[in-house]
Amino acid sequence: MGSFKVKLNGKYAKVRWKNGMRIIDFMHQLCVNRETHLAKKNGRLVSELEEVSAKDRIEIFGVVYGG
């Protein structure tokens, strides 16, 4: 288990990472809902079921705001 830096709404956040983890696993660790957030891997919009390898750049961003 290593640690991984994810960009969450423009700011870096740390998550736990191990081989085979998917973006949705990061979302769960960060307590963000996939109904309100989308993800990009290496700058490309992807399904949250995408696996993350050690060198990937992951961005998670909110698209549904309260109020």
Binding site: N33, R34, E35, T36, L38, R44, L45, V46, S47, E48, L49, E50, E51, F61, G62, V63, V64, Y65, G66, G67
Partner: protein, 309 residues
């Protein structure tokens, strides 16, 4: 390994948990547009001879709706005009209006911008200086609807399309249920109006079956240059709770929002019969617009604001 599209094996851009499917750009766009067209057909939202206004705030839902309506209206030879309201919210509205303007220009849709200052005499920033947040939101909603209805009618439009999505619908249905508001619930729906009257422009909601996150994905794929921001005055505590509740449920039990909407649709006719107020709307004594009382909400609110000056 990249996740593959369930239809063509291309790289997936979105996973739809309720259908357990991944879609590439092309297949997502195809499916999205097909669903919107189906909703428009199913509820007969647009007919030959209509003149459609689209309320475009510059957010993802309204701009997405405009892109789709453009194609639908063109194919039916129905005129389409976009209407935006400038509420006068410094540092927020200018940017979204720019997005609305730019997308109308790209699509070749006539665009009319109406302002609170001109139509009502006061901006939302000015209201906020003297009101609490929650009140500011209520004033804003009432004034915006009044402006849009009046402008649409004066421009000869008979329907006004709004960008309400499936999330908005499921929230509204649940909120009315939780608040025990059967009359309000009975008036809700994908098309039609709050009231039936030649003075009232019917509302249509082409995105009613589109989950909010999908409208965000569509707007990104289509390069609409949307910022996913929120109005600085946004304050709807109860709706926010219901939104979170529904999103949590949806994550655990995919398809929940569709089921809330479909359950409502299956009892809607019965609700309509039982909870019909049969109210005949009258014209407001002060502004001449439709109202359920002698003086409409907009005029009463304006009166309050003047009094509080």
């Amino acid at each position: 390994m990249a996740v593959r599209c369930s239809k063509c094996n291309g790289t997936a851009v979105i996973y739809l948990p309720y259908g357990n499917e991944n879609f590439c750009k092309k297949h997502f766009v195809d499916s999205f547009e097909r669903r919107v067209r189906r909703t428009v057909r199913e509820f007969r939202m647009i007919r030959k001879g209509d003149r459609i206004g689209a309320a475009v705030s510059g957010g993802k839902d309204s701009v997405t709706m405009l892109h789709l309506l453009r194609g639908i209206c063109d194919s039916m030879r129905v005129p389409l005009v976009a209407l935006s309201v400038d509420e006068g919210i410094e540092g927020y509205r200018a940017r979204t209006l720019q997005v609305a303007k730019e997308n109308c220009r790209k699509l070749g849709v006539e665009h009319k911008i109406l302002s609170f200052k001109k139509e009502i005499g006061i901006t939302v920033d000015e209201i906020a200086e003297r009101e609490e947040r929650m009140r500011t939101c209520s004033y804003c909603g009432v004034f915006r609807r009044w402006i849009l209805n009046k402008a649409a009618r004066e421009m000869g439009l008979n329907k006004l399309a709004v960008g309400h999505n499936l999330d908005d619908a499921a929230q509204t249905i649940l909120m009315n249920f939780l608040r025990n508001e059967p009359f309000r619930l009975a008036r809700f729906g994908p098309s039609g109006g709050i009231i039936k009257h030649e003075f009232f422009v019917d509302r249509i909601k082409p995105l009613m079956r589109i989950p909010e996150r999908e409208s965000a994905v569509y707007s990104i794929i289509k390069g609409m240059d949307i910022r996913f921001g929120r109005c600085p005055y946004a304050h709807e505590a109860f709706r926010n709770k219901v939104r979170c509740f529904l999103n949590d449920l949806e994550e655990e039990f995919p398809g929940t929002k569709f089921r809330v909407f479909n359950s409502f649709m299956s009892v809607r006719d019965v609700l309509g019969e039982k909870f019909n107020t049969n109210e005949t709307p009258m014209k407001c004594k002060q502004c001449g617009e439709l109202s359920s009382q002698e003086v409409c909400m907009r005029c009463r609110m304006l009166e309050e604001l003047k009094f509080e000056k």
